[in-house]
């Protein structure tokens, strides 16, 4: 049963909500529990813009269980404009057009095949910026 597991990630997956340090301005994504030497009150929720550029990418031809229906699919490390790197799929693009440094923006899409729970799992992907 993964229904609750997907539900509790909703602010991360749908809104790209991370956290920002109140004093240093450092942005983390996704949000994480405070480390043992951090003050939990120093971190506040922070919604990222969804804009960034490709740090690196790969096109997967051997999909893991649950992703077979995607066929070939591109994944990337995206450097968000607020600083963090994020791991995500790319969408609405041709492999031949992809390049390191390409500007991309976040969109919300279905992430994987529905499992035994029949839950449609949505979340962030990135596509080349629409000019």
């Amino acid at each position: 049963m993964n229904i609750a597991r997907h539900w509790r990630e909703r602010t991360t997956r749908y809104r790209l909500e991370g956290q920002r340090h109140r004093h240093t301005g450092e942005v983390r994504f996704p949000a994480q529990p405070p480390t043992l030497d951090e003050d939990p009150n120093d971190w506040e929720p922070y919604q990222l813009s969804g804009r960034g550029e490709i740090y690196s990418f790969s096109v997967i031809r051997q999909a893991p269980s649950g992703y077979e229906s995607l066929g070939l699919y591109p994944v990337a490390l995206v450097r968000l404009e607020e600083g963090p790197l994020v791991t995500a799929q790319l969408t609405d693009c041709d492999e031949a057009d992809l390049a390191i440094g390409m500007p991309v923006e976040m969109v919300t899409r279905r992430l994987m095949d529905t499992g035994e729970d029949g839950v449609l799992v949505y979340g962030y992907k990135f596509r080349p910026c629409v000019q």
Binding site: Y55, S58, Q62
Partner: protein, 388 residues
């Protein structure tokens, strides 16, 4: 603390053992290890450590400690446990055995075992992806192979290499694996074949990707007192260390730097009172050329951005400055999941004993085996020395 020695070792062939189960493979490896140490009887084993990455996900068996202790007929009164740290599971099991023997246990048995080929590629990819962050990486369909592929593309971009810059790594692995009767792939490949190979996760192609296969390997780990009674060259485990990093690649400040690989190698060498330059032969987690490259650079064998250049000049072959994959590495011997770390240590011990055959590194007296879990989230290093 007492000195720690390898008292016996044995391994099955790496392969698609369709006719054999996990217990059968583990049993063969343990029997071979005991057979290699005629002075030792099973009842002397005081603790049993099992390393396996995928026994639950791909074999449906928990409690491997109790399960295999019973299969082997070990005393029911000794501790028997299984350790999981993805691909570093076996090396971590050995690390635990070394701690116990250092602290007075006379003899421990370590078995690394993996039985994965009952499943097709999709299930294996999903099991391997569990080494990553489940919410932030695996959920997005990112595989371990694709993560190494993204590091490879970034490396090529930052240092200006052509796409075939990593070809020397699988070519060396296959040249050596061809001479290892236990290897999964016993054939050579060349640069031409490499260039023509189909993509698995671009820019990684089929000839730069290891295959996960079945196998088991075992070590008997003894304290100084027992080791002194045994025949043959004495191989001492002179330094062991574990270091970790975040499994989430995107949370690392520079994803091309394997911090845990660096730290574990340096701590292990420090414990052995040795430096990087003292090592004659290496076993690394090298499922792809980029993995070997980043480990060599993290450890400090080569400056960042230069390892492929040295590899092209032959530095990683058995006659080079930093020989790696002398038994075929992950690429040709096969990726045996959590058992890989034990296969690695066995190869270093063979090298130091002078029994490595066609891929023997001349006068090798010091070796380092480093085993990574995931993209170096766990790094376990063991420094071995042949005592004269």
């Amino acid at each position: 603390m007492t000195n720690v020695y390898i008292a016996g070792m044995g391994a099955t062939a790496v392969g698609e053992h369709y006719g054999r189960d996990l217990a059968d493979l583990a049993s063969e490896a343990a029997r071979l290890a005991l057979a290699s140490a005629p002075g030792i009887a099973p009842h002397q084993i005081g603790a049993f450590y099992v390393g396996s990455a995928y026994s639950e996900e791909l074999y449906g068996q928990g409690q491997l400690g109790a399960y295999l202790a019973s299969v082997l007929g070990l005393s029911p009164s000794i501790p028997a446990l299984r350790i999981e740290a993805a691909g570093a599971s076996g090396a971590m099991a050995l690390y635990q055995a070394v701690q116990a023997v250092q602290n007075g246990l006379p003899l421990a048995l370590v078995v690394g075992v993996e039985k994965v080929t009952d499943h097709l590629e999709d299930a294996i990819e999903a099991a391997q992806a569990m080494a990553a962050d489940s919410n932030e990486e695996a959920l997005h369909g990112v595989t371990l192979t694709a993560q190494w592929a993204m590091l490879m593309r970034r490396y090529l971009h930052e240092y200006g290499y052509a796409a075939d810059a990593f070809a020397p790594f699988p070519i060396n692995a296959h040249a050596n694996g061809a001479k290892n009767p236990l290897a999964l792939y016993r054939f050579a490949i060349d640069a031409n074949k490499y260039r023509k190979a189909a993509m698995v996760a671009s820019p990684l192609n089929l000839l730069d990707c290891s295959t996960l296969a079945d196998g088991a390997a075992a070590l008997l780990i003894a304290g100084e007192q027992l080791a002194r009674e045994l025949d043959g060259p004495r191989i001492r485990i002179a330094g062991s260390a574990v270091a970790t990093d975040t499994p989430a690649l995107h949370r690392r400040r520079n994803p091309l730097e394997l911090h845990a690989a660096r730290a574990s190698a340096h701590i292990a060498l420090g414990r052995a009172h040795l430096g990087v330059g003292d090592v004659h032969v290496w076993e690394l987690t090298d499922p792809h050329g980029i993995a070997a490259t980043l480990a060599l650079e993290a450890i400090g064998c080569y400056e960042s951005g230069t390892a492929p250049r040295y590899a092209a000049e032959g530095a990683i072959t058995p006659t080079g400055k930093t020989p790696i994959a002398t038994a075929g590495g992950y690429k040709a011997r096969g990726d045996v999941g959590g058992a890989s770390g034990i296969y690695q240590v066995i190869e270093i011990a063979r090298q130091l004993s002078g029994t490595a055959g066609a891929t023997q590194v001349a006068n090798a007296r010091v070796g380092l085996a480093q085993s990574l879990g995931g993209i170096g989230a766990t790094a376990v290093s063991h420094v071995l020395i042949r005592e004269s």
